[in-house]
């Protein structure tokens, strides 16, 4: 950990309305992941402001950030980040544990969301018994179970083959159709085209921000 600093983002002015599905695109090192991490309160900006749901997010200590993350945000990562010694169901239950919801209720809700992503029968399986696409769906169920306003996905399809990627995008689109705001970091054109808006980031600045006609993933999937 050197002392030298690097300004990754240089003056980003950018807003997302409720119910949008935004793709953040850019080559690696462009700052897209950093942007997402700041939005997700996993990282903090050195300067500037960030409003979430009408609240100014600043001077967050870890405890407050944890509460906001738990209440407003759901995360999906490229490498799934499931806890390996817990079953699919237990992984999905975990965010509710930190909301101090009792076990029965946790189980009920988690199962509902697992079924929602089509993994009801795999509830008792451990992550290493699931395929990549299934793991990512468990991760999505886990992100959704706390009923967040915004779902942040960092290269959600990065570790998946094309067919599975499209299936997953279909799922994300259906989630967006239910009113949840989605921000997806990707560098794949076809994935970005399945969103409603594409933001291009290069060298820390937004170079392009356009609304597009969404390509439905269902047309690629039988």
């Amino acid at each position: 950990m050197g002392k030298s600093t690097l300004h990754v983002l240089k003056g980003v002015d950018f807003g997302v309305e409720s119910g949008e599905m935004v793709a953040i695109m850019g080559s690696s090192g462009s700052g897209k992941s950093t942007l997402l991490n700041i939005l997700g309160m996993l990282d903090v900006a050195d300067s500037g402001t960030y409003d979430l749901d009408g609240k100014v997010i600043k001077d967050l200590d870890e405890t407050k950030a944890a509460i906001y993350r738990n209440k407003f945000l759901g995360f999906v990562f490229q490498s799934f980040n499931l806890i390996s010694y817990k079953t699919a169901l237990e992984n999905v239950m975990l965010p509710l544990y930190y909301q101090k919801i009792n076990r029965k209720e946790r189980q009920k809700r988690a199962l509902k969301f697992l079924e929602h992503v089509g993994l009801g029968p795999w509830a008792t399986h451990h992550p290493n018994e699931l395929s990549g696409g299934q793991k990512q769906r468990v991760a999505i169920a886990r992100a959704l179970v706390s009923e967040p306003k915004v779902l942040l996905a960092d290269e959600p399809t990065g570790a998946l083959d094309t067919k599975t990627s499209y299936e997953l995008m279909g799922l994300l689109q259906s989630i967006n159709d239910q009113g949840i705001t989605l921000l997806i970091v990707t560098h794949e054109e076809d994935i970005a085209n399945m969103c409603k808006r594409i933001v291009h980031v290069r060298d820390g600045v937004i170079v392009e921000d356009k609304k597009i006609k969404q390509v439905k993933a269902s047309q690629y999937v039988e």
Binding site: E62, T63, A66, I67, I83, Y85, K86, Y97, Y98
Partner: protein
């Protein structure tokens, strides 16, 4: 904070990570186990040491007659010194201030018969004071008394095992025994903590022995007991004066190292006590060392455990775990494991010590034990240090931004 949910989550985590749980638990249990065993052995060694001394009184000085090495005042060298009754009287008269009691001891072996039973025993001809010097406990009847000395009675006080050997389950009190051809009446039975040999003795009046041996007035050894109030310094001064007095009386050259041998039990004891306290220091040192090794072991394993879980902690934080709950979780687990494992190690150690018991007596380890306070204290120390060792990396893990913890590496 201590909700059922939290316990469930903890048990679940521990069960699902058996290797980690076992490893850290084993370290703690082993640490405590070794501590208990070593400390117990140290105590056993000390016990063995003390055992040598509990048997006899410690305020005594023994005088043994010997052979001179140097000529003195017209006497030739190699002269055999003989103690007689007048030595007893002289010591008594000259050292009234120092003296508690004085007794001679004349030891002879003899075949002792009673009915069809017979056996060889050591017969000690003594004065009444001897009872205190040997801490003899009379269980039946009485010890030899002043009247016996005066009247030269043929009375004997016999050891518990002598009674058992010769009389079986019948009481020997008032019965006659044949000691080397002379009939003695048993007036008392005693026991002694000094072991079996000490209980196979027969005590008779020293005057009776002198009469049997052609009415001489010789005594073999003289045992002088000083008043305990004299203390250690007083005892040493008394020993010196007594030695000088006797040497002068028996015309032994002052610079002759032979002639009379003096053994001061108080000085012996002092030396042994010093040795015992050195032992105690060694035991404590070994104990602390073991404990320290245990603490280091636990610290290592805790650091390792937290390191291994960094990613998991990052995931937990990303989905809403507060730093407090992360630290709490690690602490909860570590304290739980160390407490349970410590208790197991403690029980195993104490159990092993109890099992060993006196079986290592030949190796000078008698009744190894560990005080409850020491044992529980050591366990608590390990638990506390386990918690601290877990807390530091846990706090650091909780402070790391989740994004760093989540980075693929």
């Amino acid at each position: 904070m201590w909700s059922r949910d939290r316990w469930q989550e903890m048990f679940y985590t521990l069960r699902k990570n058996k290797l980690r749980t076992t490893l850290s638990g084993f370290t703690v249990a082993l640490g405590i186990f070794i501590f208990v065993i070593l400390f117990g052995f140290g105590n056993g060694l000390k016990n063995a040491f003390e055992q040598f001394f509990i048997d006899d009184a410690t305020n005594t000085i023994w005088l043994y007659p010997g052979q001179t090495e140097k000529p003195y005042r017209g006497y030739k060298a190699k002269r055999r010194i003989i103690f007689k009754n007048d030595d007893l009287v002289d010591i008594q008269q000259n050292f009234t201030f120092f003296l508690d009691y004085i007794t001679p001891r004349i030891s002879r072996g003899a075949l002792v018969k009673q009915g069809k039973e017979s056996n060889n025993y050591t017969i000690r001809a003594v004065a009444p004071g001897h009872q205190f010097a040997e801490k003899t406990l009379v269980t039946k009847g009485r010890y030899i008394n002043e009247q016996d000395i005066k009247d030269k009675t043929k009375y004997a006080t016999i050891g518990r095992l002598v009674e058992q050997d010769l009389f079986g389950s019948v009481s020997a009190l008032g019965e006659n025994i044949d000691v080397g051809g002379i009939s003695f009446k048993v007036v008392g039975v005693f026991k002694d903590e000094g072991g079996d040999n000490e209980e196979r003795l027969i005590y008779i009046p020293y005057t009776t022995r002198q009469q049997i041996e052609k009415s001489n007035d010789r005594v073999d050894q003289i045992l002088v007991a000083f008043r305990p109030e004299l203390g250690y310094a007083g005892a040493l001064a008394f020993e010196k004066k007594l030695n000088t007095f006797m040497r002068k009386k028996h015309n032994i050259a002052p610079n002759d190292r032979s002639g009379i041998y003096v053994r001061n039990v108080a000085a012996d004891l002092k030396q042994s006590q010093q040795f015992a306290s050195v032992l105690q220091i060694i035991v404590t040192f070994v104990g602390l060392g073991t404990l320290l090794a245990g603490i280091i072991g636990i610290s290592n394993i805790m650091v390792f455990v937290v390191k291994e879980r960094t990613k998991e902690l990052g995931i937990r934080k990303a989905i809403g775990a507060t730093p407090k709950s992360v630290v709490g979780m690690i602490l909860h687990e570590s304290v739980f494991i160390t407490a349970i494992a410590g208790y197991v190690g403690l029980l195993a150690g104490v159990g092993t010590l109890a099992l060993i018991g006196d079986s290592l007596e030949d190796y000078f380890i008698i009744n190894p034990y560990i005080g409850t306070t020491t044992a529980v204290g050591a366990t608590l120390i390990l638990v506390v240090f386990g918690a601290i060792a877990g807390y530091i990396p846990a706090r650091r893990a909780a402070k790391i931004k989740p994004i760093i913890a989540l980075r693929d590496a």
